[in-house]
Structure formats: structure tokens, C-alpha cells
Symmetry: C2
Subunit: 319 residues, 2 copies
């Protein structure tokens, strides 16, 4: 586990850093889903994490690792998703400014959530060029440090604490399945889980409509996301240069699932396991129910990372 952006020691230090700030989330089980999956599933409930997503771990680690001098300058990111809320809260807890660049088209619910956590919202046009331009402008004006959503060692180390905790709670797991978007979560899990026990198998779960990780694995090289389209809005991004090597070397397989499978798995998780999960998390649940995964042998006990629970409750995908 060398030659990567992050080490197991980094993850352990992140765990110490965020202890008492991030929740130690519970693990839930569901007999019905076990039956459907053909094995025992252990759901790591990061939707019960602060801000409703694992993203708080990475953001909290990155913010708390800043020196006093760095912290005084504040932090900035561009995101309309869970990382935005996570960074806003992490900054608030440290008592520093967080500038969140959000597209003008972001939903009022998401803007309100960021504002509730004390983030300063800076609107931009809904294009990547505009986001980067406005972010650079905020950095120039305020001196704030950019904390990206996944391609950053401190973010990866923070997300890795999910696996550290899960393997403390259930040391006998044969595998861990987690959704992959930018890869911060999966990369952190690889570092932590393989570092603790190299026999733990790691699987990434990805929407077929945003399958850069699956294509990159197949090609053996980092391929970009092209025109992603999926209900799993947390997984639209491409793998990064820091996360890809870990996915390449330590993820056994990337299981892709269809939109129908995602929606069905989300409903099953809500209805039978009472887990209020967002579509991006349902991708991991769907992967455990997919024939390709069900056909694997020597997997009795599987951890499944429920990455978040931020859902538009006015319009559910099955309605």
C-alpha cells in the first residue's frame, strides 16, 4: 500500500482528528435484503452521518488539518452536492469562513442547507468554466484555500475512516461494496481496508449511465466520464488522478447497474430496511443484488456503504 497519495497511517490520523466531530455511524441489517442478496449484508449508515453523508468525514479532516494561519484564510469549493454542505459545516465547527460556489440552477433546498450550515453561497453560471472562474476569483479575493470534493489526500484519508470504523464494528467482513463517483470514498476504503486486512475484497458500484470507473478498469487507464446521465446525482463525476490508482490496483471489480435497478434497490432499502438512502447509495445496494455480484463465491459477509440520504422528498423516483 505504498506509492499512493494516502497511507493507512493517514487514515488513522484522520480518524483521531474527526473523533467527537463526525458521528460513529451505526450498522444496520435486513433479513429481506440478505435473502435477496443471497448473503449477509451490513449497511454502514453514513446517511446518519452529519450533513447526511460520508462527505463530512473528508471535509472535517481537511479543514481540521489546516494550520491556524491557513485556516484563518477560510476555505472554498465548488459543489452543489453533499461536499458543499460538508465543507460548510466543517468550517463552521472550526469557526472559519466557507465560500461555496454553486450554480444558479442549484435547488433552493440545497442552497438553504448550505446556508443553514453557515456557508457563504457564491452563485455562478451552470457551466464548469464558470464554476472554475468564479472559484478562482473567490480565492484571489479572499485567499481561501480550495478543498476539492475528492481528489485530495486529506479528503481521501477522511473518507477512509468509514472502512476503519466498519471493520472495527464487524471485523469478519469478507468484502466491502461502495458507490464510486470521483472515487474519494472507494480510494479511502481501499487504503484502510486493505491496510488492515489484505484479504478484504473491495467492490465499486457504478451507474451504467456514468461508468467511467468500469471503463477505466477494463482499459487499464483513466478514462474520463462522457455525458453521464443517471438519477444517482452524486456519481456524475470522473475519477481523479489520486483516486484512480487505488481503484485500478485494489478494486476487484466495478459492478454497473441500470437506472431501474437503482430505483428498485432504493425502494427496497426504504420499504424493507427502513434506510432513507439517496439514489447514489442505492447503486451500492443494487450492486449486491446484481447477478454478477450474486455469482461470486466465498463472500459470506459483505459491508455495504450507505453513502448518504439527501433526497428530494417532494418527488420520489418511483412516483
Amino acid at each position: 500500500m505504498s506509492n499512493y497519495a494516502v497511507s493507512l497511517a493517514d487514515v488513522r490520523r484522520a480518524a483521531e482528528r474527526i473523533a467527537g466531530k463526525a458521528h460513529r455511524t451505526p450498522v444496520a441489517t435486513c433479513a429481506t435484503l440478505d435473502r435477496l442478496a443471497g448473503r449477509q449484508l451490513f449497511f454502514k449508515c453514513e446517511h446518519l452521518q452529519k450533513v447526511g453523508a460520508f462527505k463530512f468525514r473528508g471535509a472535517c479532516n481537511a479543514v481540521d488539518k489546516l494550520s491556524e494561519e491557513e485556516a484563518a484564510r477560510g476555505v472554498v469549493t465548488h459543489s452543489s452536492g453533499n461536499h458543499a454542505q460538508a465543507l460548510a459545516l466543517a468550517a463552521k465547527l472550526r469557526g472559519i469562513a466557507a465560500h461555496i460556489v454553486m450554480p444558479s440552477t442549484a435547488s433552493p433546498v440545497k442552497k438553504r442547507a448550505v446556508a443553514d450550515y453557515g456557508g457563504r453561497i457564491v452563485e455562478c453560471a451552470p457551466t464548469l468554466a464558470a464554476r472554475e472562474e468564479v472559484t478562482a476569483k473567490v480565492q484571489a479575493e479572499t485567499g481561501a484555500l480550495l478543498i476539492p470534493p475528492y481528489n485530495h489526500p486529506d479528503i481521501i484519508a477522511g473518507q477512509g475512516t468509514v472502512a476503519l470504523e466498519l471493520l472495527e464494528q464487524f471485523p469478519g467482513l469478507d468484502a466491502i461494496v461502495a458507490p464510486v463517483g470521483g472515487g474519494g470514498l472507494v480510494a479511502g476504503i481501499c487504503i484502510a481496508a486493505k491496510g488492515i486486512n489484505p484479504r478484504v475484497r473491495i467492490f465499486a458500484a457504478e451507474p451504467l449511465g456514468a461508468d467511467d470507473a468500469a471503463r477505466s478498469k477494463a482499459a487499464g487507464e483513466l478514462l474520463p466520464q462522457t455525458g453521464p446521465k443517471t438519477i444517482a446525482d452524486g456519481l456524475l463525476t470522473s475519477l481523479g488522478e489520486l483516486t484512480w490508482p487505488l481503484v485500478r490496483d485494489h478494486v476487484e471489480d466495478v459492478i454497473t447497474v441500470t437506472e431501474d435497478e437503482i430505483i428498485q434497490a432504493m425502494r427496497l432499502a426504504w420499504e424493507r430496511a427502513k434506510l432513507l438512502i439517496e439514489p447514489s447509495s442505492a447503486v451500492a445496494v443494487a450492486a449486491t443484488l446484481a447477478p454478477r455480484f450474486r455469482g461470486l463465491i466465498d463472500l459470506r459477509r459483505v459491508g455495504v456503504v450507505i453513502s448518504g440520504g439527501n433526497v428530494n422528498l417532494d418527488k420520489l423516483p418511483w412516483q
Copy 2:
């Protein structure tokens, strides 16, 4: 704590009996709800219990306490709610028959859930007279023992294990709030919590549209439910003869809430705490947000029992 149907020793024996069968459910917290409530709330997640409700505790205790000879005769109940599923599963785990008398108007989802847990559904006309008649007929034909949903010592003792666990998980609670329908849960909590620590204050939460407990407390005598009407479909029943004395003597206050308050609290719990709770549980959350409860002093840390998570996902109350 004498002269009641159940003692703390009964609750402790119930806890031993159901250990390894019922889940030890986690406790969740939510900074937003704490802010709105003006104090710290600790949500005991019985929606993550087997069958998605605390009801499994009582049913499991009652079924497992049967002698071999009694058990061989099977069990019967009339219910269209969580107790039906709970009894079906408890009987299945013991390997005995469960006859569940359900009104012909019960939703297909509820019937399917009971059937999934191995219960034998016996349909009846949707009136109390028909339910009792059909139940008596099943008893006569099969010799099965009637396990009622709340007015039974073994049920009350089983439900009391919720408080036993919660006070082990958070010994410093000043109070516990739980929804009241038939009163099995609240009665069990009174026995357990007051038995462990007489200073723990117990509050019942009730829909204004089904307020027999509030009226009974005010009158000092058991008054029946009359024409209840509420979205909290688990709380339509009247207190029983075994549960009322505990509510009378040990519940400090019954906090009533309106339908609007229930729906708002349910949405808050879903949106901010990511807890997939049913309307009956939202009654307890709503009570903690009600001015009458907020005005109480010397309550810093309050346990809130999330009683269940069985919801019709095709039609949410705010839609």
C-alpha cells in the same frame, strides 16, 4: 413499582429472552432537531427493529415465554398493523403457527408483509365484531393462544426492553418521550425506566384526533377512544386495563399534537435526521417541538422513541 401487571424483573427477563432475536437498535441524533427542540434529543431507532417496529420485542417475548405444549398450539391475533407482522415473525422463529385475522380491507402491502413472515392470514369483515368472532373461531378450531397487541403482561414487558436498552446506551437521560396508542410501549417504558431510575421523567405523545390518554389523565379514570381520526394509524386504539394504571401513575404529561404538527415532524425527521419514520412515531417527534413540551424546565437530554417505520411509500402525507 408494585401492584402493576409487570415488574422491572419481568422486563429484565424479557430482555434476556429476546437477546439475539430482536435487534439492539441504534440511537441517532440530529443537530437541526436539537436546535428546534431547544434541547438534546436521542432517537431510539425502533424503525430499524425487526419488522420495522418495536412491536417485535413484545411479540417475541410473549411467544418465547410459551411452554412447549402451549407453543405447539400456535398463536392468533387480530391486527392489521405492526403487531401482526411482529407476531408472524416471532412465531416463525419459534417454528410454530401464527394465525393473523385481518380485515378484508387491509392493504395488500400489509397482507404481503404478514405472509412473507410466514403468517396465515384469515380474512374477516372490517368491523370489531367480525374480528372478534373470527378470532374466536380460529381459537376454537386450532387451539391457538390469543396474543393481544398491548394489553398483556408479556407484551408490556417486551416493549419495556426499549427503555432498558436506551438507558444503557445513554444513562444520563432526563426524560423519555414515546407515542401512546394502546399503551403497551409507554407502560413498559414506565416500568423499566422508573424502576431503574425514578428521576427519569416519562411523557406520552398522542394525536389530538385520538386523545383518550390525555382525556383519561385529565379525568383520572380510563376513558375510551371515541371516533378516533388521525394519520397516525398505530395510535387509534384505546388504553387497556393493564396499561392505564401505569400511564395514570407514572406518565408526567400527555402531550397532544395536531395532524399538521405530525406531518411536519415526520418530514423534518426524514429530511434532516434521515430517519424513515411512520406517522405514529412522528407524533413523539412533534411532541418534543410543541410549545407545551419546550416550556418544561430541567430537561436537557431527552430520549425519543421512534416506534416504527412502516409507511406507504406510494403516497407520502405531504404530497
